[in-house]
């Protein structure tokens, strides 16, 4: 069944007005699918991840619906949402370093957490240890403080805790951006392993690094200024993108396996629009080399090929 998000709108209340961080986002994530959510800062990718699990005080659910496995997720209602958190929807936070209670031993902290959900630590201890073995963490970590673990170990520990109750949807927000390249690879592959073993059913993997998403995601969704620009299979996004933003973004990435003797890459001139008062029509219009009159109207997301959605008049 998976996740269905329909025309989701989430605005931030600020003193200067509403910031339209998510403005009509529609997509679905299937069972066993890893959706890579890519985009630059301010495109709404973190807002989307947060809305699906817990909105902070400034966020308002202004419109649209979210369905998980056929049942509606009450994302705008902090209390009713509580029933789904951890067991149905779970998150691996970006900063694993600060995600664990520094004053409790890790095992104790997990016990507290389970108790708060009305579960017994004893009943789950065996599964917990089995999963620690799987991510190659010694069982002794349960008796140590978070301080005693390295960054990669902490990130893996948090991953095990987040997925302990086999949630249907897992949100991984920039989980590797604070890690070194070799650790990043291990953590990213662990996430794929969790999916393969059925610890989680669907994953939304949020990152700014398209090359990393390409390594592990089945589908990539590129966002720009609060809207979905393009969504397709990972290899289609990388090898045959249709949206001009995706094209420019991918062509601006330097690569390790390529020689750049005299060849220069180009960036995208300009900067994203303010979401306080976003322009009408296509939001990429000002920076787009293909922009024409039609772009003053908002482009609908069109399925140009099966499972390849593009929001551009020229695609």
């Amino acid at each position: 069944m998976g996740l269905r998000v329909n025309d989701l709108k989430v605005y931030y209340q600020t003193l200067r007005g509403e910031v339209k961080a998510l403005d009509g986002v529609t997509f679905a994530v299937g069972d066993g699918e890893i959706l890579g959510l890519a985009g630059e800062s301010g495109c709404g990718k973190t807002t989307l991840g947060k809305s699906l699990i817990r909105m902070d005080g400034r966020m308002r659910h202004t419109g649209g619906t979210v369905e998980l496995d056929g049942a509606e997720l009450p994302i705008g209602d902090d209390r009713r949402m509580n029933r789904f958190r951890f067991s149905e929807v779970s998150i691996i936070p970006q900063y694993a370093m600060s995600a664990m209670n520094p004053t409790r031993k890790i095992g104790k902290m997990v016990a507290d957490l389970l108790e708060s959900r009305g579960l017994r630590y004893r009943n789950l201890a065996g599964e917990l240890e089995r999963r620690l073995d799987l991510v190659e963490l010694p069982r002794e970590v349960l008796g140590s403080y978070p301080l005693e673990l390295s960054g990669g170990m902490k990130q893996r520990m948090v991953m095990v805790i987040s997925t302990l109750l086999d949630p249907s949807l897992l949100i991984a927000d920039e989980i590797t951006s604070a890690l070194d390249v070799s650790t990043q690879k291990a953590v990213a592959r662990t996430l794929v392993g969790f999916r393969d073993r059925g610890f989680v059913r669907s994953v939304i993997f949020i990152t700014h690094d398209i090359s990393l998403t390409y390594q592990i995601a089945d589908t990539i969704m590129v966002m720009y200024a609060g809207k979905v620009a393009e969504k397709a299979r990972a290899d289609v996004i990388v090898n045959a993108p249709r949206h001009p933003y995706t094209k420019l973004l991918i062509s601006s990435l330097p690569e390790v396996g390529v020689r750049y003797a005299d060849r220069k890459l180009a960036g995208i001139p300009g900067s994203p629009p303010s979401l306080l008062d976003p322009p009408t029509g296509c939001r990429f219009r000002d920076r787009c080399p293909l922009a024409h009159d039609k772009c003053a109207e908002e482009p609908p997301a069109v399925e140009v090929e099966p499972d390849h959605f593009v929001a551009c008049w020229k695609a």
Binding site: E40, S41, G151, D180, V181, S182, Q184, K185, A188, R189, H208, D209, I210, S211, L212, Y214, Q215, V238, L248, L249, I250, S252, L253, P254, E255, V256, G257, V258, R259, Y260, K264, L265, A266, G267, I268, S271
Partner: protein, 293 residues
């Protein structure tokens, strides 16, 4: 020419400084004018410490850093900073939020060029903004929060250029920038290089190092493990650590699943020496203490 010769940094740690921690050991390489050298390493490799020592922000414990033959520890600070400047990772915290961003230019004038006439100075500012491809009308008179990260970072480079510097230490300057603007800053470095600036490009991101630099120095746990021409190091890595790093970088051309994993043994760099495997390509030959896979 900037030259590092067997540079080491040893910190005293513990309650009374009883123990020592060797952050950097036996690092030696040189940067010539018109050349970008990338210094690549993971966290804790000592790459930033090397950058800070070159800038004189941290004292060298052993070995020496020389600029055109003179030890930088003996050079007058102010004169040295006329030639060598640094730009760091976070452009947002480099500015005083209550001052207009271009006040950094006025501070340079007061400190280094008190006798330059105002019109001449304005022309100089315009020239250096032009060098970093910023439109003066868009950045002068603005507060830091009104400018983007890329603009702030370029403003800092323009500030360094006002001093007619010969060398720039760029420590992770693009890691807080978005992909679409990051490449512009890298191209800017390439431009400045072609006009004779030497750059020490400190980064953890191998793809960026591969893009901008002629020569690459790879550090691991305080030691240089491999250095040589960027082409050589990236296409034919001779040290297992370099090979491991390269195999871990996510790429758009190959998938991790299609490349074999590179095992890395636990290495002891203690007394190992750098050996020249081909002209200009040096690799540390150490003993493997223990095999892991």
């Amino acid at each position: 020419m900037l030259k590092l010769d067997a540079v080491a940094k040893i910190y005293k740690v513990g309650a009374f400084g009883g123990r020592t921690l060797t952050a950097v050991d036996d690092v030696g390489f040189e940067i010539r004018s018109g050349e970008v050298v990338s210094l690549i390493g993971e966290s804790g490799s000592g790459k930033s410490t090397v950058g800070r020592m070159v800038l004189g922000l941290t004292a060298v414990t052993r070995g020496s850093i020389t600029y055109d033959g003179a030890d930088i520890a003996t050079l007058p600070r102010k004169a040295y900073y006329r030639s060598v400047q640094g730009v760091f990772q976070d452009p947002f915290s480099c500015y005083n939020p209550v001052f207009k961003a271009d006040r950094v230019f006025r501070m340079i004038k007061e400190e280094y060029f008190p006798r330059v006439a105002a019109p001449e100075w304005d022309a100089k500012i315009e020239e250096s903004l032009d060098d970093v491809r910023l439109n003066p009308a868009q950045v002068l008179g603005k507060y830091p929060h009104q400018l983007s990260g890329g603009q702030l970072q370029r403003l800092l480079i323009a500030r360094a250029l006002l001093l007619d510097i010969k060398f720039l230490v760029a420590d992770e300057i693009t890691s807080m920038l978005d992909a679409s603007t990051r490449i512009d800053v890298l191209n800017l470095l390439a431009d400045l290089k072609s006009r004779g600036l030497g750059v020490l490009f400190v980064t953890h991101d191998l793809s960026l190092g591969n893009y901008v630099s002629e020569r690459t120095v790879v550090m691991h746990r305080g030691h240089v493990v491999e250095m040589g021409l960027t082409d050589k190091v990236f296409t034919d890595p001779r040290h297992p650590y370099t090979a491991k790093l390269l195999s871990s970088v996510p790429q758009l051309t190959t998938k991790w699943d299609d490349t074999p994993a590179v095992p890395l043994d636990i290495l002891d760099y203690g007394a190992a020496a750098l050996v020249e495997v081909e002209p200009g390509h040096l690799v540390r030959q150490e003993q493997s203490l223990r095999s892991v896979n």
